[in-house]
């Protein structure tokens, strides 16, 4: 211990400060950065219709069909989450909602489970092999009317339009697709970089983003440490500045 203290005391001011900075950054990386990257969470595959504090409901009588167009269906969208509310609160009967997904040659059909009495639900679906833009429809196969949650809040209305029994309705349904796999952020980075690349019109290819990530995570701390080290060294060379 005494040797360590002697060694530290023999270091210059610049070396001590740089060493402390490096140690703190390493500790910070261990305590926050690595856990942040490694923490598993449910992935969002797409949000064709976000929720809103100003909800709107689409009434679906038995046999009614509500359709939302221009919905992106992604290969990682294994769960379709939406909210259906029964109109009769104390009804003993379960609701039966059929979800239809359609895009190019892709077709998928899923039904709410037996005993579903309304509320938020994440319905398992088989997603398409590649991302495609298509329609999502809800069909009320039950015996009572239900309300499908959506919004007409101008802040959250998306590009999708709603038709209920072929009649145009305002706003859009609230719909989110989730990845059923719980993945760490690190394992999702590839997908995230694809998203960045698409939203910059491929100006930034994913490979470049990987390089940039590594450079930033390494270079930012190193350059900051080097700046302080360089400053203190310069002051020492100029003759013990205060």
């Amino acid at each position: 211990m005494r040797n360590v203290r002697r060694r530290i005391a023999s270091l210059t001011a610049a070396e001590q400060a740089a060493g402390l900075m490096a140690l703190l950054l390493l500790l910070g990386a261990i305590i926050w950065v690595f856990p942040f990257l490694a923490r598993k969470q449910t992935g969002i595959a797409g949000v064709p219709g976000p929720g809103s504090a100003l909800p709107y409901t689409y009434r679906l009588v038995p046999g009614s069909r509500a359709c939302m167009n221009a919905v992106t269906l992604e290969p990682s969208g294994h769960l379709a989450a939406f909210v259906v509310i029964p109109t009769r609160r104390k009804s003993p009967e379960a609701l039966r909602i059929e979800l239809l997904l359609r895009a190019e040659t892709y077709r998928e059909r899923a039904t709410t489970p037996t005993g579903y009495r309304g509320g938020p639900i994440a319905l398992p679906v088989t997603p398409p092999r590649r991302a495609a833009i298509g329609d999502v429809c809800w069909v009320n196969r039950g015996r009572h009317a239900v309300l499908l949650n959506g919004t007409t809040d101008p802040r959250t209305v998306t590009r999708s339009h709603m038709l209920v029994d072929s009649i145009a309705k305002p706003g859009s349904a609230s719909l989110t697709f989730y990845d059923r796999r719980s993945r760490s952020l690190l394992s999702k980075l590839g997908d995230a970089f694809n998203h960045v690349s698409n939203l910059t019109d491929r100006l930034l290819p994913p490979a470049l983003l990987w390089v940039f990530l590594v450079v930033t995570l390494l270079a930012a701390p190193i350059v900051a440490i080097a700046a302080l080290h360089s400053a203190l060294s310069e002051d020492d060379a100029d003759g013990s500045k205060p």
């Binding site: 001011a13 001590q16 400060a17 740089a18 402390l20 900075m21 703190l24 950054l25 910070g28 926050w32 950065v33 942040f36 969002i44 797409g46 949000v47 064709p48 976000p50 809103s52 992106t72 590649r130 991302a131 495609a132 833009i133 802040r155 959250t156 209305v157 998306t158 590009r159 952020l185 997908d191 995230a192 970089f193 694809n194 998203h195 960045v196 698409n198 939203l199 910059t200 019109d201 491929r202 100006l203 930034l204 940039f212 450079v215 930033t216 995570l217 930012a220 350059v223 900051a224 080097a226 700046a227 302080l228 360089s230 400053a231 203190l232 310069e234 002051d235 100029d238 500045k241 205060p242």
Partner: protein, 487 residues
Amino acid sequence: MAAIRRTPRPLGLLLLLGTLHLVAWNVAVPAFQGPDEDAHFAYVQYVGETASLPSATTGPTPQSTEQGSTLNWLNLNPLRGIRDARPAWSSADLSSWRQLESTLPAGSRSNGSGPNPQAKNPPLYYAAMAVPYKAMSQLPLLKRLFVLRLFNLPFYLAAIVFTWLIAGELFGRVRWKQTLAAGAVTLQPQLAFMAAIINADIALTAFCTAFLYTALRLVRVGPSPRLVLAASGLAAAATLTHGRGLVTLPVLIVALAATWVRHRPCPRETVITATTALGTILGALLVYLAFGRGRGGGLYGGQVTALNSGATFSVRQFLSFIYQFYFPALPGMQPRIGPPFGYRQVFIETFYGTFGWLEVTFKAWVYAALQVVSAIGLVSVYTTCVMRWRTLLRAWPQVIVVVTMLFTSVLFLHYVSYRALLTNQATDPLIVGRYLLPIISLFGIAVAFVIGALPRRAGHLAAAVVLAAGVLLSLSGIGITFVRFYA
């Protein structure tokens, strides 16, 4: 080349860090996801496409068809401020957007003539950004916006450089203090985020920081015509960038007065100084009046008139308003007008870092820790001032300039907030932490001032702690923002 060779190595490294920082933020924030970025970009686009100014009050559409289609088709509109939303980020969305863009009719880029709420801002920043915009007009919109954002880099780096120079003026050529002051600014997450989006705030920050440096140099060196011209020119540039730039004018007056008292120039020099300063400011005002107002607009889009009309200004109510911004109401005080929005929200949460359209935030404990550290910092500033009062007294002109810049800026924000609440039925306090960024150099200087007062070795180590914390905070801000939009 000579300038690059003369750049001190620590400053060069900070500029490299700043560049990395800005690019990382640009990557982390999708198109139009900065505060009011859609309106600021619409302003730049309209100037770039038509060489004229949009209107704040009239017109068929605030955004061009090209911009509106992109915002709509890629679901970038509902992304704003709604944490649960995600953009349309797939390859299928990109393909269909490209198809959509290719079918837009002629004139789709130039029809966003207003009403654009940002058109009340003077045009300096937008005219400057219209130049690279025009140079890249052949690029599709998403690429164009990403590259255009990078042209904020000179403003961001200027804020870092001039903070370094200010520290040099105040502390002397002590590199570690200069590095600490400029480093605190470089690593400030809110500043880097605002630099990475299309928004006039970063230009205002650069001009105000540069102005403060020239004002400090002026009071130290004396009234050379070049310095007076630089200081008044930068004050003029700030006022031609945003209404909040007006705070530089009283500071300029104070700086000139302090210069006169300190250096006692001869009457001829005094006249030249006064004429140079006044002429520069008036010249800028005339240019603004002649060319800088949008169609049908008053000064700053009529904001000056709007804010100062309506409900009567009450000094007592205003003072109570300011007091309750910082402290709980005293017994017998009337409740403060407006929503519960005060010191914590402005000086901590939205100053250190609230991103996107204010929906991306650090965890609550981070702000709590920053609030505690800031409180310790404020007490330390006071204590250090008391300890160093003789030094401060000797440097009274610089102290007066710095204090005037601080108080004028903060008082101006409180005044505008108070008047806005009186005119908008107390709904929008019109004050947020990023409005403090024009005085971000004072933040850096305060950090260096306090830590510089510690015993030498302790000061160096404390500087290491501050800069390490800055790196962690800045990388965290980028990380949480990236995850919010893309994961």
